[in-house]
């Protein structure tokens, strides 16, 4: 109870907006919960030690002659400066290593699901592979089944990035030429946010993603949906948009599975309409934002690798966004 009270006092300002929370204070993953406990143990313990040091300093300055004499001896230094920290630090070290070990021991779920995330300037390529070896790409959104430890393979396509979804776990770097594995166990369903934590130049501040933790059946349904090809355009505007998407050359960078667009430089757009954001967390995903992104992405997210397409007419933009938003 005490702990919750301190928490409330400390992070009251941070509770202002909880939409798509991105905070280690609100753990929704097994590792984040263990670290949260560790944090509070250390904060309260450290707080007590801090108050103690300040109090001793005050006594050294203002105390009576006898107590000051007691403080002015080497045994005091040996006790407070060597013996006490040695004991405390040893206990803390063991506790920390136990938590580290608990994280490392978690076996990944046995259903053969593999998730790989590749950090790219400045977005996240997410690749799912199911037990049968079927694989598909999506971007900037990580879906997880609740309650199951999932191993996520982290790589980089260019510079060093760091995958950080603080509600679920600590961060782990994505380093060219290496594969790091992070085990995530979502403990409750819901959407949280994450962000690149290793400075990667340019638009580093704008490299975020969502983590969607779902009950198993919901997750399986999502997998089935995502693995399939794109849905055909459902309106005339969308049909025009689809044709324009191909004729304007969007397919050179983007793939829409089931069409001629097979580019791999940018995010796979097969089910872009079903995602929560555009531009790696930059904009909410709706038709207006899509239009805005196509025309103005260099202002919205400076230096990103997509050129700003100012060549389209208003009508063409309507068609394109209708098409893309329809790719559920």
């Amino acid at each position: 109870m005490m702990r919750r009270l301190i928490l409330l006092l400390l992070i009251l300002p941070a509770l202002g907006g909880c939409a798509g929370s991105q905070s280690a204070f609100m753990p929704r993953g097994a590792e984040a919960e263990r670290i949260d406990t560790l944090f509070w143990v250390m904060t309260i313990g450290g707080g007590i030690i801090f108050v103690g040091v300040i109090a001793i300093t005050a006594v050294a300055m203002l105390g009576g002659a006898r107590v000051r004499r007691a403080l002015s001896s080497e045994p005091f230094i040996n006790g407070a400066g060597i013996a006490f920290p040695s004991v405390v630090l040893t206990v803390l070290l063991v506790y920390g290593l136990l938590i580290l070990g608990a994280g490392a021991r978690t076996p990944p779920a046995g259903d053969g699901l593999r998730i790989a995330v590749s950090g790219e300037l400045w977005w996240w390529r997410v690749t799912y592979t199911d037990a049968e070896g079927n694989t598909f790409d999506t971007a900037n959104e990580l879906h997880l089944p609740v309650g199951e430890p999932v191993a996520v393979e982290l790589t980089s396509a260019d510079v060093i990035h760091s995958f950080w979804a603080p509600n679920l776990a600590g961060k782990l770097d994505m380093i060219p030429g290496r594969t790091n594995t992070l085990t995530l166990t979502a403990t409750q369903p819901g959407v949280t946010r994450g962000q690149c934590a290793e400075y990667c130049g340019g638009a580093h501040a704008f490299m975020s993603f969502h983590v969607v933790a779902q009950p198993r059946e919901e997750f399986d349904a999502w997998m089935r949906q995502e693995a399939g090809p794109a849905v055909p355009p459902a309106s005339e505007a969308a049909e025009r948009g689809a044709a324009l998407f191909l004729s304007a050359g969007c397919g050179a960078c983007h793939a829409v599975r089931g069409t001629e667009a097979t580019g791999t430089i940018g995010p796979d757009l097969t089910h872009i309409g079903a995602r929560r954001s555009i531009g790696a967390g930059m904009l909410p995903n709706d038709a207006a934002a899509m239009r805005q992104w196509i025309v103005d992405n260099q202002h919205i997210k400076p230096e990103n690798k997509m050129p700003a397409y100012e060549i389209f007419t208003e009508a063409e933009l309507d068609d394109l966004s209708a098409y893309l938003e329809g790719l559920k």
Binding site: G17, A24, F39, M42, I77, G81, L172, A197, H204
Partner: protein, 850 residues
Amino acid sequence: MSDAPHGTPRNDEFPNSLPRPEGELEALERAWEMPKGIRILTEINNNFVGPLYIAAAFLFFVLAGILALLMRTQLAFGDNDFIGQDLYNQLFTVHGTTMMFLFAVPVVEALGVMMLPQIMASRDLPYPRLSAFAIWAYIVGGLVFFSTIFYDLAPKGDWFMYPPLTLTEYSPGDNADFWLLGIGFIEISAIAGAIEIIVGVLRTRPPGMTLARMPIFAWGMLIFASMIVFAFPAVILATMLLEIERAFGWPFFTAELGGDALLWQHLFWFFGHPEVYIIFLPAAGLVSMMVPTMAQTPLVGYRLIVVALIATGFFSFGLWVHHMFTTGIPALSLAFFSAASMAVAIPSGIQVFSWIATIAAGRERLRMSVPSHFILGFLFIFTLGGLTGVMVAVVPFDFQAHDSYFVVAHFHYVLVGGMVFPLFATFYYWAPVISSRMLSERLGKWAFWLMFIGFNVTFFPMHITGLAGMPRRVWTYPGNMGWDLLNTISTIGAFTFATGVLVFIVDVALNFRFGLQGPRNPWNAGTLEFMPNGNYSMRSIPRVTSRDPVWDNPSLPEEIEQGRHYLPGTVTGGRETLVTSPIEAEPQYIMQMPQPSWTHVSAAVFTAGFFLLLTIKQVELSLTCGVIAVISFIAWGWQLDKPDKGMVDIGGGIRVPTYASGPQSHSWWAMVVLMLVAAALYASYFFSYLYLWTVSPEVWPPGGSPEPPPLLYPLGSAVLMVGGGIAIRWAGRRLPAEGARSFAAPAVLALAALLLAGALALEIYGHLGTGLSPTASSYGALVYMNAFLVAETVAATVVLCLFAAARQIRGHVDAVRRANFDNAALLYYYTSAQALFGLVLIHGFPRLIG
């Protein structure tokens, strides 16, 4: 703990009796007189270059602080676009780089340069031109580096410049090169200062000031400088590797060709972590100077503190991986480095409790002056920073805190608390040493409270901001994340802190008056720095018999000023200082010191020009500057090594020589420290070689690269080098008698230089013959990098050999006055030894594994 007080000794109990001969003081003043007018720039004395150095470092503190205010303004609330993305990325890179490389290390070195001669009653540190050179190089290089922010040329890879982001592919343009060449160059200046400080502390203490009586600040500076010697070469090698990969495509950091991005991180943090303690230890030393004075009682736990300082320096080299906990390294490494990171908290604890014990030990209560305020502020902030340091040393917690604002909060608590607050305490405490007026107690307290409150308001909320999910180095953030209020508070705090600094600047403007005749010992300190002084430091050098000599002998200031102690004038007629033995501090010889000169100024300016013009690819101009710099160095060196002036009397019946060679000489010591620097650089290379092999053994021969050339090549190189070494040894035994000339030794030196260059050429030729290319793989790059490193030391050795040969031909080297020859020989032996080790590695290792 101290020897008995002097009582009131009779006239003849002092080393030198009164009255002093007429003209003695005038001659001393003449020798140390500061040059007038524009020629003041040629001055090398610590009383001029020390304050200049501190002023320059403080300027960079203010400039980098202004960048911080710009960043805080940008971050005051979410979705702000006051400063754009690209400029912001440059701002935090330059802020961090400037604070670490252009403020923190230089200002501490500056305090050492300025204050060590006062504390140790020496006339000056042993290589005043070297420190003046380092300072000018730093001022020119630092200003040019900083100014890149004004024309969009500033680096933007953050202060630790991780590749691959900083490789040409992701960072085209000259921005990154300004960091690599500019900062690499300033690191060299820091090393020059470190050599000065090490030899200064060990060899220019007053008689009787044994290591066990040395003021803690001198201990702090000694350990600080030793750490620079071993830590900075790692980052110098790293910057060399990265610049070479950027310029010529040698793949040290590119994974596809057998390089590894983590190599940079290992090298950088092998420097970067000790760097934190490099900054903190001298500051802790300052606190250990001020607390006893403010409490008017000797430091409690002196020996424990010395052990703690040494232990910190030692441990700090074993913790670098704690900056890499999130890179996915094995759990065993995590455990080891976590334990080491916690262990280093203990020496800090010892010091904190020693200071508290000293405060408690005072007969009176702690005097609440401005320095005391800053020290108590330091204790508060540093303790908190230390506790969060223990938190981030716990690996799982670091997984969350790393690269978030929690870490930003933590290291500002440690660095600003651990270093900036003691520094401001020192400014107030030591100002009277070089100012005829004290700084204001009233303004000082305003400055303190604004800074203390401002600091905590800025950085305490950041602990929460970080764990609430805000990463470092983001130029903006969405307004709905719950980070706005915390950031607004931090911004308000930052401006409050800056106001405090501004009050300090106003105080300095109002009250600081440069001059050496300030109030005498205004705080009643027990150490020597507040003794009456002139440009020559103290008139006479006392024998020190305790840790607090002034408390033991209150009449010491008068005795020193009257010239009753050692060396009350100039015995050689010029600038000189007394050199003592490193441990017991017994007088050994009088060192004749250089005069003011333009040579080191020109060497500094043109060395800076060489590096900076190279950065913007002005190769011809750059080389011209390089040549002028080398000529300046030679002219500078030519004026040194003055001839022996025989035995002289310094008082108290002590007669000492005015020349020394071999292991007693200061130049031998500097050469040995320089060799340690070179060896540390090469050790970093050796680590890099083995490290990249463990990462990518597939690019090593025989499978991945051509096999090394036949053994005849390395054997040939070895024979050439060993032959040269034997020849030098032979010539060293046959130097001509004092005053005579001989042409045999110069010929041998020239021949040895030629053999060395030949050995290098043979090594490179052999590898070219196998078809190995430096750009094909990390293996090829490492093989040629070895040759590159050898080439550097060979170039220096050749220059020094030819210099010594020329000096001999002119009759400046003989069997007594042999320092020039000895230095050339020492460097020759070192270079050959390093090159032989390299031959074994480059030719042996592939055969061993193949």
